[in-house]
Assembly symmetry: D2
Homo-oligomer: 345 residues x 4
């Protein structure tokens, strides 16, 4: 396997760190550039003791601007920056001939107006939106292969979209009936040094937050609307639970009249039975965080409730892997023409 | 305060243990009888080292049958038995002149048929059902005061009923639209020695279970139907999360046309603003397990989502206190004519 | 019981918060003043939602200086300030006629030189040191009763001193042989908003820190030396473990020639068998955090290892209660002439 | 790389499960046989949902006896059985030409008498003891390469032996002065369905256990004595802490007169600076479980305490990897003549 030169821009957070962990085990990667203003000058092993004695441990963080990243010879750049900063790199890197995989939300929305509604500021680079591809490989595999700007899907959205999209595409659900509760591990909040995320504030606790209009709703509804062929508006409540990693989402939707569990099962199987990273647990199985952490899998289970006419969709993923860095590497493999599972199994 | 003689029947589980903890701090209680077949002969302090050097630590567990409990002189008996066994004590204790507060689900349902539907066996003592009172003091305070058989409300039900009942009574909600996701600490499963509840199987994990027809649905729907004046069927999914104690419930319901957040707020305030144990966190506050554990409070917050027309209700309680033993003591205080908060604040 | 007017100075950290929790349940306390520069103007219930609907929930934090605390009419002031600030209040409060119970380390050392060695700065009020009493009631009960400046013992020190002092007093141990490893919950680090104490940095981890010269060594060795009647120098390593509360300490010491387990047991029983908060678990029992959290107890167990000639002492306490706020209230009860257990059982 | 046929005997526990996880990612392994009486007939993916969609997921557990394991064509067998059962397989497998790597304690002790002293029963196959090699590759690398019975080192012993052996070999320590406290995650207790290991009994708690004569002492002292060239007896206390995985050990030992920190550092560097899995964190670094979990590394840090003349050794490892299955695979790589890190980095 020929090595592909790779840059990681902004690797000081939890998803950047997880990305490095995955790239260390990827046989096709040559990590030529890792940037972080705050960590510049230190090696990966110095910053993250857990990476000592491993491949890339001696690679040094730099404070590189986009020009320096281009000069590094990287062919693909992962952007693991806080939301709102990706455009500073995306544009010059693409112009410099790199393919860009952005882990932030900056290029996930097709509508600059929706971006402004949910993020509270005008989109900083609306001209790039038309060319970006939503980085959910199970849905946009071909477009990802051909793209140079991949907006890797968010953690909550991935856990909610993958179960729902096949059912909406097949017209099995009442699109106005969807309600979702998700539970996320604390790494989902990023490496934010704030009172709310101190150990004693999170441990032995759990709470809903971001109600009723969490930012991720915008990309969830965009993609659900695409699938349904009609505007879809849903209710979504994220919860913080005391685990380091992992998301569980439980989704309710009313089945259209006459639709039964067999149609649900058939639609999910048709969509995913050959997917390497989607594990269908069926109408009797479950979705449990412990089965997916440190993997790129999403587990999906489902039930029909004849008493209410609703289907219950349960999904579990690792927010840092399938919900962030693993999924980005999945897109990277597509870009490189490699097996999609390379470095991920 | 004159001491009331009290018996605890079946105190080997987590809610029995919590009940003892609460009774130790209750100035009106004289604990004259504690039964457990498996623990008979040992003192409370021997069985639970945490209770050593405290009141009642020297009280010994007995294998007492109902007659012996009557003979102990107890005026009130708490039953903290596994589901299905309460009737063996309830009938003879009542006949022996005791008031009975049952923490199990055995007497919560008014319909023996619904019991059989959800619990899979015929009700063992259907003749007692008409006289039992559902032990949710905020709703049935007067009936509890006058009863001799109180079926203390369940943990999930309490967290779901208290936010919904005032809104259904006021006719603000579409009763067909209700969906609930709840998260519970592991003590909710009881002290069951089973693989599923081992530390390494629960820690760093979370999952939905009991989908789509958890047993608690039966009492939830019974009480919601009472409040709405019409049969109510809901979707409810419990989740296991890695905390010892605590429940968070997040409930969606569609507001009837023309109903706004003000009406929701007004209905909740009218119902609960004088309640000692219901803390309304309002339309901007939250409900967080860490604020309620080791207390008998339930915190309730709410939001209106104008995009979907739904209200989001968030509630948090300690499943072992307000969801079990604390609530039982609240009823006990009512039975004794004492301030409802005695021993609970 | 006549209410005693009490002030809490600096109540924004975890031990201040725990102190408020304990005082809320204390029948002899009238909380007339709570100070915090950063929380001034807010009520206790606003700052700590867990305290809403409880006694003192409406008491407002003030930015009071010492003069204002004196003017509040308080007879006793608890200082729950970060280390190094207590003297700003201690001196004027004592001059104003109050008794002061300081939860910090500022007045625990009798030697200003040792303070400077371990804390790196000259002691800010060395003239107060002679009059302060080390606030470990089981050892200094009479002196506490008569004092107006109590330096409440530290969390690690309490867990280490109580098992060792009787054995050193009885001359059973080789004083040069003592090594201790302690494990503490994360609240022991205080409410410090720092990367090290984020949930994801503490959860699923454990580590030694402060090796080899943790600040608490100074007060531990001072008190051990007092007990032994000869200078004692020990090895002590604290560890951070992922629990909210609780300390376990395991101590090794060589028994002097001819000393057996019976002498150890006898010395511990003689010292503590009537102590309300010391629970001797004996030479076959254990010391487990779960049995002491949310209580003022310390559990002590011990073993003789004839292979090495060492005794192994195991102790467990809640670092926020017996290791901080509960112990301070124990001293407070002594000051007030009340039963030592008032508000603590 | 030619695939080597491998059998795993008794794979229903946590270390068996971890072994399968590691073997799945090992490029040189063909897993031809997995045995478990209780799981026979089910595939790995059915039993462990986390392994679905991965290599070996379809391999079925069998109830194979030793003859059937030999017939499977396996060249190497890992025994992941409860203690006391390994000999039933070890003897016939070796006779059948397989090399055996035993993860239990059955063949770790050279003395059948010491085995009986610590395990309470006569050794079931004392004739095999002379030919077994203690499976600690950093110490016995050459012997492992040449052996057909490797008794893979225990979890606590690995964390304690690796820091101490070079210092004892170099004669830097007083061998009579060694005291150790170790903290282990709950998976160290195995997948035992017992009250003590329920989530609510372990979470938010910590305790010492197995005091003063834990079984692992026997192999620790055997190997320390070998290193010192004189019998070594130590004090060792294990603690259970609420994490899934990981061990931290903190060891005290008195330096011989005239020995300083430089000699300690030099001895550790000489022993380990080229070792792939030993990461020396030096006299200012630390040893933290979070940096080693899910890896085969052991981190070692140390301090000199001039006040007591003791050295403090801190080590951290994953009890299931370097403390069990990873270490076994390290030996397996040696047996196969492969790079020792194969499948482990």
């Amino acid at each position: 396997m020929n090595l592909v030169k790779v840059a990681v821009v902004g690797a000081s957070g939890y998803s950047g760190q997880e990305l490095i962990r995955i790239l260390m085990g990827h046989p096709g990667v040559d990590l030529v550039c890792v940037t972080s203003r705050q960590l510049a000058g230190k090696s990966i092993g110095e910053v993250y003791p857990r990476f000592q004695h491993q491949r890339f441990a001696d690679v040094k963080f730099t404070a590189s601007d986009a020009a320096a990243v281009v000069a590094s010879g990287a062919k693909v750049a992962f952007l693991a920056l806080p939301h709102g900063l990706a455009h500073e790199y995306a544009k010059p890197l693409i112009e410099g001939g790199l393919k860009v995989i952005d882990l932030s939300a900056d290029f996930r929305l097709k509508s600059a107006a929706v971006f402004e509604e949910f993020y509270g500021t005008p989109h900083p680079a609306p001209d790039l939106l038309p060319q970006s591809v939503y980085g959910l490989p199970e849905i946009y595999r071909d477009q990802i292969r051909a793209s140079n700007l991949i907006a890797s899907a968010g953690c909550y959205p991935t856990s909610i979209l993958l179960p729902l999209i096949p059912l909406l595409k097949a017209g099995l659900l009442d699109p106005a009936s969807i309600t979702v509760s998700s539970m996320s591990g604390v790494s989902g909040a990023g490496k934010k040094v704030a009172l709310d995320y101190l150990y004693c504030e999170c441990n032995e606790s759990a709470r809903a937050y971001g109600v009723p209009k969490h930012r991720h709703l915008s990309e969830i509804e965009q993609e659900l609307s695409n699938a349904a062929g009609t505007p879809v508006v849903i209710s979504f409540t994220p919860h913080l639970i005391p685990v380091n990693r992992g998301i569980v989402s439980t989704t309710y939707a009313s089945l259209k009249p006459g639709v039964g569990i067999e149609a649900v099962t058939a639609a999910l199987k048709a969509a995913y039975q050959s997917e390497p990273f989607v594990r269908l647990q069926g109408p009797t199985g479950g979705a449990d965080i412990k089965n997916v952490v440190f993997t790129n899998f999403i587990d999906i289970a489902w039930r029909h409730d004849p008493r209410t006419g609703r289907v219950v969709l349960m999904s579990a993923e690792d927010n840092l892997v399938k919900g962030a860095s693993g999924q980005a590497v999945q897109s990277f493999n597509l870009l490189c023409g490699w097996p999609e599972t390379e470095g991920l199994l």
